[in-house]
Each structure stands twice: as structure tokens, then as C-alpha cells.
């Protein structure tokens, strides 16, 4: 037994509050990281999907014989081959695994094939003869609303509905359909286990809910399907819904061979849900001092052909329709309509993004009408801890530093007056399109708010296990790393709680651990992080109790200066702790939309600086500075990474990212035509992290993934408005909206 003299308690490395190197960082940079696209198995077949070329059509016949006649084709499966439940869905199972009598959106899967190689699979898919009888497609959301083709209606009434203000501003706003555009397309591998079961490795944000849906549609017992976390090249909400998962498992069980499928880019654009396009109508009323006395809003979201998460996205849009402001007389009506457009669902910001563009445009309009500084108006109305949310009336219990966000933005220095002397810094960039004399500058502000974690009474939980190993400890979880840094932050939490440096995170499949819930709603750091913290704390207490120690470090258990249990002895024991963490309960709201719908909130603000060539309609987003409520930054570098990436996605929605629809058909399903911001379009970002204790997340941390995307779009739009004098009632702002309003 060794002793120590004057030895300080070992300080573990890589704990919370630091920014240790990501375990997946260097492999990703070096191209060694295994993404779902890289999966392979001995004897593997390749799969391809037959998709409807119509937004709506009756399927009169499907002839698979020509495909089966091609050498090397092992299976062609249609709706008739789905062994179990014919439909799937994240919240409501309303979407056919394969379209049967009717195809309801352009790109809907109708059949799947498996063949010896990819080319053969695609040739076979093309050879399948589907007899379509095109039907009239419902693509106008207003018409769908009139026909009562809806997934959900929301009605919120709070306070005295007769209140009127001295100053009134009204507006109508529109948000185009943004795509998550993950660089890694949908991909997966299903491996039959030889006993009627299957192992699925596929792009996912939520393996347990995939597994449930595969089990249902394959008609198997839950223990026969194991869904494994795998390497994800971007998610942003696109990986919540099932797409190729059931197809792969069907093909694998049908052929008895491992089957792989990777979507092409154009398939990816139809193979996952999109951000809901939105049509918003607002009426804000204020007194002459700028206090909001009444807000009325109408929200229409196009859910597309199937439910996905439209109900929850609509709820979010309505609950956050007033933004981070207090108001005691509120009326919000919302509808998520069913059309023959592509299904829409989860995307970073989840409904809060669309309404933010509406309410922040309104706040600027109101400031203008009151001849008031726009930030002053926001400060006067700021929603803070202790206030009721304007819509649901839920009193905010956790820290909500809205005023500090506003004051931080006010204090941030503005860049030098422009435009730049560098031609590549002007609108049009290295296209050298503009000249300084044609350029005007604008500055715009926006604030946004969103819930953290699942809402409306859903049982939101995450399980994590912390286990002692030979080298330290491992955190086992089914929570998905999508690039945000979860594997890093869970290890940091465990290191801090255990007091040791050597902690790794291991992803385990659905048979080995209970659900961690979805990697969405900015929730994993708080929820899986909470489970990890509690498991690690309990494990440490049990170990110290067992050995009557007072300190645990990488060497083992210490009592005073004496190492009473070296690590090797600890590792020989069977030390593990499994915890299921639940955040504070929420409830479904009542008929007036009142109730405690949310577990936690985060607020952020953005200031955008843009240069605009008004005659050409070209915009250069120079800077987007931000202050964000983060609770506690467990990994400051990852937090900044989320902020910068989220802002870029917000800039994308502000000025270029849109799926353009024509009668239900996506007209630009390629990266040639669907524009993503590149590094040349990335603004400079100064990010101020506002830390306040009091959230229920581990060490007071809040989720940080979504707030950067919520108000950055509205801030850029406001800056364009300031530079151009145009009303800017729609995002993305297209050149023609500025040049030819």
C-alpha cells in the first residue's frame, strides 16, 4: 500500500469548463472516422429505392419482373412485402413503409431492391414498372386549411382579449422551406443474425425510436432488432424520422444477406423531412411607452404529406410566437396542414425559427412606429425569470438573462464604417460583382427564445451507465453524437464527477441500454449529461463508501495520504451505475394553450452587419455577433462551435437556403442548385457566453445547439431592411426581393 506525503489531490484533466480535444476530431479530419456511408460486411448486397415521380398518384400496378430478370438482383419488395405494420411515424404512424395504393409526395418510396452491386441495384430499381395514374395534388397550404386537411390546430388565449394599444403594427411574413442538408446522406447497413433477427447500423438521431418502428413493421419481437449508433455526417433534425431503416431490415431478412444502402444527394433531399415553410400574420399593440399590451398571431405551417413531428413543431411555433417578451393579452392561432408537398418535420430550432422572423420583424416595425431604439423597445418588454411566458402563462423558473443579452449586444463594438476597400469583401464576394459606390450598410438586431428538452408532458428521459474499467471509466449511452461534441462533454462530466482523467464514451446498441431520447431539442447535454452526472456521482459515493475512502483519483481510492484501493483492484470489481434521468415534468396545455409545457428555456440575441448592393440585390453578411444564455459552458470551444455553425445555418435561411417547390416537386434537389453558405459566406462572429447558475442541467448547463439558429436569420433580415429600405417580409431574401421589390 503506497502512501503520499504532501501530495495534492490529483486534479483530473479534461473536466467540465475546459475544452479537451474531441476523441472523434482528429479521425474526422484525417478521413479515418467511420461514417455510416463507410460500413461494410462480408457478402453484402446493395439496395436502391424506387420513388414516385408524382406529387400525388394512384398506383395501379407494380411489375417487378423486369427487375428480377436482371442478373444479380436478389429482391424487389413492395408494400405487399411489409411483414408487420404497414406504416411508421415518429409521433403518428401514418406514413407507408412503401406506398401502396397511392403515392402522396414526390419522391415517396414505392419499392426497394437489393442486388450484388450498386449499379445493378439502381438499374433494377429503374426497371421496375410502376403504373401511376396522376391525381390532382394539393400543394397550397391555404387550400388545405380550407379543406380541413390538418395535422393539428393550436389555439392560445391568455389574458383579457379586449385590451387595445395606442400604437398598432401589423405584418404578414413568410419563411421558405429550408433543408438540413447534412453533408453525409442517409446511409445504413442491416445484418441478419441468422435467427430471424437483425442488427441495424444506420444514420439516426434516436436509435430507440428507430428500433421500435422497425420492430412494428417487421412484425418481430423487440429483442430481435438491435439498432446501433453509427457515425453521422450531420443531422440537424433530418435523422429523427425513419427513412431507409425499415427497408434495409426487410431486405436483409428477405435475402439473408447484409444489405447496405446509401442515398444519392437528390434522394437525400426527398428522403428526409425539411423545415416547415411558414406563413405568419401578426398584430402587435403597444402603449406609447413601448409596452406590449396585446399580440395576435396566426401561424400556418405546411406539414406536407405525412405527420412526422408537425404537431410538435406547430406547438413550439405557437408557444414562442411572442418571443422573449412579456405581454398579458395574447391570441395565437396555428395550424399544421397536410398537403402533397414533401413531409416536413424537425430542424434545428423546431418552429421557434419561423416565428422569430415574424415577431422580430414586428418589434422593429413597432420601434419604428414609436420612434424608439429597437433594443430599448426589447429591453422594456424583456421576459425574465419570474415572469410568465406570454403565451402559456408558465412562470419562468430557471435563469433567463434576456436583459443581459440585450445589454451585451448594445456594448459590442461595431465594425469600422464600410464598405470595404477589398473587392472580394463586397456583395458578390470573389465574383467581383459590386463596387463600393453601389453598396450601403445595414445593422439589425434580433432576439430569440426556445424551450430545451421535450415538452407538453412527454416523458423525457435518458439513461446512461458509468462503468469502471482497467484504464478508468466508460460512459455507455445510446445518445447520438452528430458532430456537436456529445462524446466529449459526457466524458468531461464523468471526469468531474468521478475525479479521474481517464474516461471514454462508448455508444451501445438498443439491447444494451435504455433510451437516451433523441439528439434534438438542445437536450442531450442536459438530459444524457444529467444521467451521466448522477451515475458518476453515485458510483463515486459507493466506491468511497465501500473502501472508507475520502478521495477517488486515477490511482484509486485514498484515505488521507494512503492509497487504500489501487485502480487495478477497483477494475477487478464489478463497478457500474446506471441512471435514468428525467427533467422537471411538463404538462399538456389546456384548451386555451395554458400550462407548464416546457422544462427549461434559453434566450439569445444576434446583431448582424450587412453590406447590400441594392440595385443588384446582393448581400454580404459581414458580421453576426451574439450573446447567448448557456447556463454554464461545460466545453466553451464546443459551445462556440455550435454558435458559429448555428449562425451560419441562420445566415443560410436568411439569404440563400431554400427548397424551391413547383406543384409538389422539389426543383433544386442538388448542391448545385440548393445553396449552402460556404466559408466565403461565413460572417465574422464574436460570441459572448452568458453564464448563470440555476438550470437543472449538469452543473447548471443549458443546451446550446438551437438558439444560434433562431434569431440569427431575423437579425440578418433586419440588417438587410436597414441597408435597403425594403420591407423584407420573406426569408430567404432573394436578390430579386431587394432589386425588384
Amino acid at each position: 500500500m503506497s502512501t503520499r506525503t504532501g501530495r495534492k489531490v490529483g486534479t483530473p484533466q479534461g473536466v467540465v469548463g475546459t475544452s479537451p480535444l474531441r476523441p472523434d476530431g482528429i479521425p474526422k479530419l484525417q478521413g479515418r472516422f467511420e461514417y455510416a456511408q463507410d460500413l461494410a460486411a462480408e457478402g453484402m448486397l446493395w439496395a436502391a429505392t424506387v420513388r414516385s415521380p408524382h406529387a400525388r398518384a394512384r398506383i395501379a400496378s407494380i411489375d417487378i419482373a423486369p427487375a428480377l430478370a436482371i442478373g444479380g438482383v436478389h429482391a424487389c419488395l413492395t408494400a405487399d412485402d411489409v411483414p408487420g405494420r404497414a406504416t411508421f411515424g415518429l409521433e403518428h404512424p401514418d406514413q407507408p413503409v412503401l406506398a401502396a395504393q397511392e403515392a402522396r409526395f414526390w419522391g415517396e418510396p414505392v419499392a426497394v431492391v437489393a442486388a450484388e452491386d450498386l449499379d445493378t441495384a439502381r438499374r433494377a430499381a429503374a426497371a421496375i414498372e410502376v403504373g401511376y395514374e396522376p391525381l390532382e395534388a394539393l400543394t397550397d397550404p391555404e387550400e388545405a386549411n380550407r379543406r380541413d386537411e390538418v395535422f393539428r390546430r393550436m389555439r392560445i388565449r391568455r389574458g383579457d382579449q379586449s385590451v387595445r394599444g395606442a400604437v398598432v403594427v401589423e405584418g404578414e411574413y413568410e419563411v421558405g422551406m429550408q433543408d438540413q442538408a447534412p453533408l453525409g446522406t442517409e446511409a445504413g447497413l442491416a445484418v441478419p443474425d441468422g435467427q430471424g433477427g437483425v442488427d441495424l447500423y444506420a444514420t439516426s438521431q434516436y436509435v430507440h425510436v428507430d428500433q421500435e418502428q422497425v420492430v412494428a413493421s417487421l412484425g418481430l419481437r423487440p429483442d430481435q432488432v438491435r439498432s446501433h449508433p453509427t457515425g453521422i455526417g450531420g443531422a440537424f433534425g433530418a435523422r429523427e424520422d425513419v427513412n431507409l431503416h425499415i427497408h434495409l431490415c426487410m431486405l436483409a431478412l428477405h435475402t439473408g444477406r447484409p444489405v447496405k444502402m446509401v442515398y444519392r444527394r437528390s434522394e437525400s433531399f426527398t428522403g428526409h423531412v425539411h423545415r416547415h415553410p411558414a406563413w405568419l400574420r401578426y398584430r402587435h399593440e403597444a402603449d406609447r411607452d413601448g409596452r406590449l399590451v396585446r399580440v395576435e398571431a396566426s401561424v400556418v405551417l405546411d406539414g406536407g404529406a405525412y405527420a412526422s413531428t408537425t404537431s410538435a413543431v406547430l406547438a413550439n411555433a405557437c408557444y414562442f410566437a411572442v418571443g422573449p417578451y412579456t405581454c398579458d393579452s395574447v391570441a395565437v392561432d396555428g395550424v399544421g396542414v397536410r398537403t402533397n408537398n414533401p413531409p416536413c418535420g424537425a430542424m434545428r430550432g423546431f418552429g421557434a425559427v419561423q416565428v422569430c422572423f415574424g415577431y422580430e420583424s414586428q418589434m422593429d416595425r413597432l420601434a419604428h412606429a414609436l420612434e424608439m431604439d429597437p433594443l430599448t423597445l426589447r429591453e422594456i418588454n424583456a421576459l425574465e425569470t419570474g415572469h410568465p411566458l406570454a403565451t402559456t402563462g408558465q412562470v419562468i423558473q430557471t435563469p433567463l438573462p434576456t436583459v443581459e443579452v440585450i445589454k451585451s449586444l448594445q456594448a459590442m463594438p461595431l465594425p469600422e464604417a464600410g464598405p470595404s476597400d477589398l473587392p472580394t469583401e463586397l456583395p458578390g464576394g470573389s465574383g467581383l460583382t459590386s463596387e463600393p459606390q453601389h453598396v450601403t450598410r445595414g445593422v439589425g438586431y434580433a432576439l430569440g427564445i426556445k424551450n430545451l428538452g421535450f415538452s407538453e408532458g412527454s416523458d423525457d428521459y435518458a439513461q446512461a451507465r458509468v462503468r469502471i474499467t482497467d484504464s478508468g471509466a466508460v460512459v455507455e449511452t445510446a445518445a447520438i453524437e452528430v458532430g456537436q461534441g456529445l462524446v466529449t462533454v459526457l466524458a468531461q462530466i464523468a471526469r468531474s464527477a468521478l475525479g479521474i482523467s481517464h474516461v471514454e464514451v462508448a455508444h451501445v446498441d438498443t439491447s444494451k441500454i435504455d433510451s437516451a431520447g433523441s439528439t434534438s431539442a438542445s437536450r442531450q447535454t442536459q438530459v444524457s449529461g444529467g444521467a451521466t452526472l448522477e451515475a458518476a456521482q453515485r458510483l463515486r459515493e459507493r466506491i468511497l463508501g465501500q473502501f472508507d475512502g475520502d478521495v477517488l483519483d486515477d490511482e484509486g481510492v485514498w484515505r488521507g495520504d494512503t492509497l487504500v484501493t489501487p485502480w487495478t483492484a477497483l477494475a477487478a470489481g464489478d463497478w457500474e451505475e446506471t441512471v435514468t434521468f428525467r427533467h422537471p415534468p411538463t404538462t399538456m396545455t389546456d384548451d386555451n394553450g395554458q400550462g407548464v409545457a416546457h422544462a427549461d428555456f434559453a434566450v439569445a440575441g444576434h446583431r448582424a452587419v450587412v453590406d447590400v448592393d441594392v440595385e443588384l440585390g446582393l448581400v454580404k453578411v459581414l458580421r453576426v455577433d451574439t450573446a447567448q444564455d448557456v447556463g454554464l459552458a461545460l466545453n466553451p470551444q464546443s459551445v462556440r462551435g455550435q454558435i458559429e455553425g448555428g449562425i451560419l445555418q441562420g445566415v443560410g435561411l436568411a439569404v440563400m437556403e431554400e427548397l424551391v417547390m413547383g406543384e409538389g416537386v422539389i426543383l433544386n434537389p442538388t448542391f448545385t442548385d440548393y445553396l449552402l453558405p460556404t466559408i466565403l459566406d461565413a460572417p465574422e462572429v464574436e460570441a459572448l457566453l452568458i453564464e448563470q447558475e440555476g438550470s437543472w442541467g449538469p452543473y447548471g448547463a443549458k443546451g446550446v445547439g438551437e438558439p444560434p439558429t433562431i434569431s440569427s436569420t431575423a437579425a440578418v433580415a433586419a440588417a438587410i431592411r436597414a441597408a435597403s429600405g425594403r420591407e423584407i417580409e420573406r426569408v430567404p431574401v432573394r436578390p430579386q426581393d431587394i432589386a425588384l421589390p
Partner: protein
Amino acid sequence: MMKLRFASPEMLVDINEIPDLDYHRVDDDGTIRVGAVCRHADLERSSLLDTRQPTMAAAAPLVADPIVRMRGTLVGSVCHADPQGDWASVMTALDASIIAQGPNGRRSIAVRDFVLGPFQNALAFDEIAVEAVVPTPRGMPAGGYLKLERRVGDYATVGVAVAIDRVGSQVGRAGIALTAVGPATIAADAAAQKLTGRPLTADNIGEAAELAAEAAQPKSDHRGSADFKRQMVRVFTSRILTGLLRSEEEAA
């Protein structure tokens, strides 16, 4: 063409190894010759073009992106005959020709006759394009090229090439051609005609811009509405010519 899946040829002939086709040069009489393997990047970095052919100098750095400019060629771009291609407009505005070579020798085809339609050119099956020839200017060459992209690296929403030769205070020759606003590159001859044989003035710049806009045949698509594209033709024509007028006035 292969990338666009328009063609899947059984055999490809690589002309990269043919010696001495990578040149661009200015003959004593001012004629500019660009070999078939001369890269966009060679033209972008060329010290010859700034003064001898400003329209080409303006267009060279705007072609595609830096990676494409390292491998792609002017002659190849004209042969590709993409209505969104930049060089076909520039060459049309300059009244340039393509030299085709086949078993029966060489022939010269004016670029405006060479581009037949989208992705279609006038080469016979047994010919290759070996050179682009920009004729001797009839005075001091001036001009510019402007292109609107929704985002850097996107295909052109609209492009306008303007080339004039100044003779004293007069415009001796003018060419205007339009990118991406029709099924093929468009020669805006009426607009150019408006400028020829008189001095540049704000008035005739306005008239030329209007005529150029009229010559455009844009379609509405995800890059912009037809009205917007037409307006951009107007603005670009006006901006380029106004810039030339300003530099003329500054020089005077």
C-alpha cells in the same frame, strides 16, 4: 457533358498531351490567339490581357471557381456551349472565332455561328477546336464583364459582356453579349449598334442598356424571376458602360 449525364461516350480522346496548345498570345497586329489547352487560370494571371483585351481580363477571374480554372479552358468552355458559360458571351461580344481542325485542314467559325444551342456546337464529328481568335481591335479596346451569382461558385444568374473599341472620342466598334438569359448565348446587336460611331454618353448608355434588356430571353427559375434577370442585364450593361465613360472622363 459526362458529368451532366448528357453523354456517355465509349471512347475519349485526351488533347492535354498535344504539344504547344497551351499558349495565349497577341500577334503584332493585335489579334489575340488562345490555344485549346490554355487554362482559365493562365488567362486570369496573364499580363497581356489587362491592356490588350480588358473584357477578357474582367471575365477570366469570374469563371467557375479556382479549382475549375486550373484545369478548364476557354476553348473548351466555348465548345461546351452552356448558355450559362462566360466565355461564349465574351467571345461573341468580341466577334471572335474558333479554329476547327480536321482531316481536311483548318476552318474558322465565328463564335456566334459556332454555338448552335444549349450544349451544341458546330464542330463536325472528326474535328477538334484548336484555337480561339479574337480579331484585331479597331482602336483602343475597352470593356468589362459582370456576372450575378446567388452565391460565389453558383452558376450565373445573369452575365453581361461588353467590348468596345475606341477611336478618338468615338466608339469604333461595340459588342454586347448576354449569359444565362436564353437557350444560348445572346448577341445583343441592337444594343451594340446604338453605341457605334458616336461618343459614349449617359443617354446612349441608357438606350443600349434598355436594348440589351429587350434582347434577353430569360425564364423564371430558382435563380430568379424573368423580370429580375432582365433588370440585371439592364443594370450590368449600364454599369459597365458608365464605368468606361467615367474612366474616359477621368483620363480627359
